[in-house]
Symmetry: C2
Subunit: 317 residues, 2 copies
DNA sequence: CTGAAAGCGCTTACAG
DNA sequence: CTGAAAGCGCTTACAG
C-alpha cells in the first residue's frame, strides 16, 4: 500500500519512508506489474490499432503518427495487420476486445456493417478511419474520396483524355468505391460518360497494379488514362505501360492516390492526390485519447485530398 | 472453474454442462479477460517489438513478417518506434518490461552495451536484430554488414571508381559502422585506400540523403561514387546529384542497401544490397517463440546480402 | 465430473 | 502518515 502510494505519487507520505521505499525499489530493481495494475484499475494503457497492411507506406505513416501521440500520453500500441482478409480483421477485433485495450483505431475496415458494427459495440472508445459508422459507435476520420475521384477525373478530362480506365483496388474497399463514384460523377457532368468495363479491382500493391494494368491494356488498348487506387498501384501500372511500349504521359496519363515518397521518384513522376498521412495518424490517436478521457460528443473529421500534378499527366491530348 | 475448464478445453466435462456453459457464454456475449488470465498464468501472449522507424519500408517489412508469424501462434505485437533516439529506446525497453511481454524483439538498437545489456537481462526471451550481444542474453539475427560494405566497394572499384564517398547513416548505427569497415577493407586490399573525410553520417531518410549528399558534393566535387546507408538515403542522394547537374552513373555511381521497392523504380534504378526483410521479420519471430516455448541453446543467424546491380552503377570509368 | 479455496500483484476504500 | 482487508477476474491445485 505504502509502496503503491509513493510510486503513484498519491496521498501524503513522510519523506523519510518515501526515501526508504525508493531505495528498496532501486536496490531490488523492482518494476510494478502493469497487468496486475490493469486488473485492479480496468485500464491497460494500450490502444489497439488495426491496419490493412503496415507494408503500405500510407499506413506506415499513419501508425507512426499515432504512435508518436500515444507515446506522449504514455499509451502503448497493439498492432494488427488485417491483410485485406475479412476473417483476420474479424479475429483481430475479438482479440483486442479480450485484451481489454482502452481504445481502438480501425483503419479502412473491409467488413460489412452487419459484421462490423456489433463488434465495435464492445469497445467503449473507437475511432474509425475511412468508413462511415454511426456516431454513437465511433468517431470518424475520413478522406473525401468522392471529391478525390472527382478531382482526378476532372484533371484528366481537362488535359483532353476521354477513355479513362480505373484500377479500383480491393473489392471491399469503401474508399475505392467512393472514388469511382466521384470519377463517374465528374465524367457525367462533363458529358463524357465512362465505360464501366474499364473499371477493375486489383490488389492494393505494386504487383496488383502491374499485372492488372497489363491485362486491362491488352483488352482495351484504346485507354488513354488510368486512375489508380493508390500510388503503389499507379507505379506498378506505370511500369506495365512502359514495359509494353506505351509512352507516359503521351499515350497514357496516370494518376495515383496518397502521395507516398515513391510517387515523386519515378520517371515520369506520378500525379497524385495527397493526404498528410502522418497527420491523419496523429489526429486519429488524439481523437481516441480524447474519447478515452471522457469526451462524449461524437466527432467526424473529413479531409480533402490535394491534387499534385506531376509529369505522368503533364501533356495535353 | 467449470467455465474456465470448458473455455480452455481442460479436464473432463460432461457434454451436458459444456452445452449449458457454451450457451450462457453466447447469450451473455461473454469474453474472458486476458489481463486476469495473464495475472494468474504469468503469460501475456504479447511480444514487444521495437524498431527505429516503421516509416522506413525496411522495418515495415520486418514488422509484417514478424506479425504474420505471431498471428499463427496467437501472439500479439506491442509496437514501439525508437525514432533514432536513445532516450526513447531506453524508455520503451522499460515500458515493455513492466508490461510483462512474453518476449522482446529489438531491431537495430542504438544504445551502448553498458546501457543495453542490463535492460535486456530483465527479459527471459529476447532476439536482437543487427547487433552483437552475448548469447545468454539473446538470440541474434544479423546482416553481414562488413561483407555488404565489401561487396559494394569491390563493385565500384571494379567499374573504375576511385574516389568513394560514404553516407554512413546515424552515428550510433552499428550496421553503418560495420559497412564502413567492409568498405575500408576492400579499398585497402585493392590498394586504393579511402579518404575518411569523404565518410559522413546522415539521417537514414530520403531527406538525410538529399541534404547530406548536397553538402558532401559541394565540398568534394571530385567524388565519383557514393555508398549510401540505405536505399532511402541513396534515392535522396540520387536526386541531389541530378539536381546539381551531375549525371548518374556517368559522373557519380550510387549504391544503396536493403533493396526496397523504391530502389528499382527510380530512373536510373539504384544498385543495392538486397536482404529479404519479410523473411528476416518472420525469422526473428520464429526464433523468439522458440525461446519463449523453452529452447535454451542460443542461436545466431547471419544473413549475407546480395548485390543487385542496376543502372546507377552500370557504367565503367 | 464439479466446485470451494487460495493466489497472481496491484489499487481502492477504511481504520487507526 | 501508515497499514490491514477486500477485490479486480482469472487459474491452479485439492476435495468431494
Amino acid at each position: 500500500m505504502t509502496i503503491s502510494r509513493v510510486l503513484n505519487d498519491k496521498g501524503e507520505i513522510s519523506s523519510a519512508t518515501r526515501q526508504r521505499v525508493l531505495e528498496a525499489v532501486h536496490d531490488l530493481n523492482y518494476r510494478p506489474s502493469r497487468v496486475a495494475r490493469s486488473l485492479a484499475t480496468h485500464q491497460t494503457f494500450t490502444i489497439g490499432l488495426i491496419v490493412p497492411d503496415i507494408t503500405n507506406p500510407f499506413f506506415a505513416a499513419i501508425v507512426r503518427g499515432a504512435e508518436d501521440i500515444a507515446w506522449e500520453y504514455n499509451y502503448n500500441i497493439l498492432l494488427c495487420n488485417s491483410v485485406e482478409k475479412q476473417e483476420r480483421e474479424n479475429a483481430a477485433l475479438q482479440l483486442l476486445e479480450e485484451t481489454q485495450v482502452d481504445g481502438l483505431i480501425l483503419c479502412s475496415p473491409r467488413l460489412c456493417d452487419a459484421q462490423l458494427l456489433p463488434l465495435l459495440k464492445a469497445y467503449s472508445s473507437v475511432v474509425v478511419f475511412n468508413r462511415q459508422v454511426p456516431g454513437e459507435l465511433a468517431d470518424v476520420v475520413r478522406i473525401d474520396d468522392v471529391d478525390g475521384g472527382r478531382q482526378a477525373a476532372n484533371h484528366l478530362l481537362q488535359i483532353g483524355r476521354r477513355v479513362l480506365g480505373c484500377l479500383t483496388g480491393p473489392a471491399h474497399s469503401f474508399s475505392g468505391r467512393a472514388r469511382v463514384q466521384g470519377i463517374t460523377l465528374a465524367a457525367e457532368v462533363a458529358a463524357y460518360p465512362l465505360n464501366p468495363d474499364l473499371q477493375i479491382p486489383c490488389l492494393p500493391t505494386w504487383e496488383g497494379g502491374y499485372t492488372t494494368a497489363q491485362t486491362l491494356l491488352k483488352t482495351y488498348p484504346e485507354i488513354d488514362s488510368l486512375i489508380c487506387y493508390n500510388d503503389l498501384v499507379a507505379v506498378g501500372a506505370l511500369q506495365a505501360c512502359l514495359d509494353s511500349g506505351k509512352r507516359v504521359p503521351e499515350d497514357i496519363a496516370i494518376v495515383g492516390f496518397d502521395d507516398i515518397l515513391l510517387a515523386r521518384t519515378t520517371r515520369p513522376a506520378v500525379t497524385t492526390l495527397r493526404v498528410s498521412t502522418y497527420e491523419v495518424g496523429a489526429k486519429l490517436m488524439r481523437l481516441l485519447l480524447d474519447r478515452v478521457q471522457g469526451r462524449s460528443e461524437p466527432d467526424e473529421v473529413v479531409i480533402k485530398p490535394e491534387l499534385i500534378i506531376r509529369a505522368s499527366t503533364a501533356c495535353n491530348h
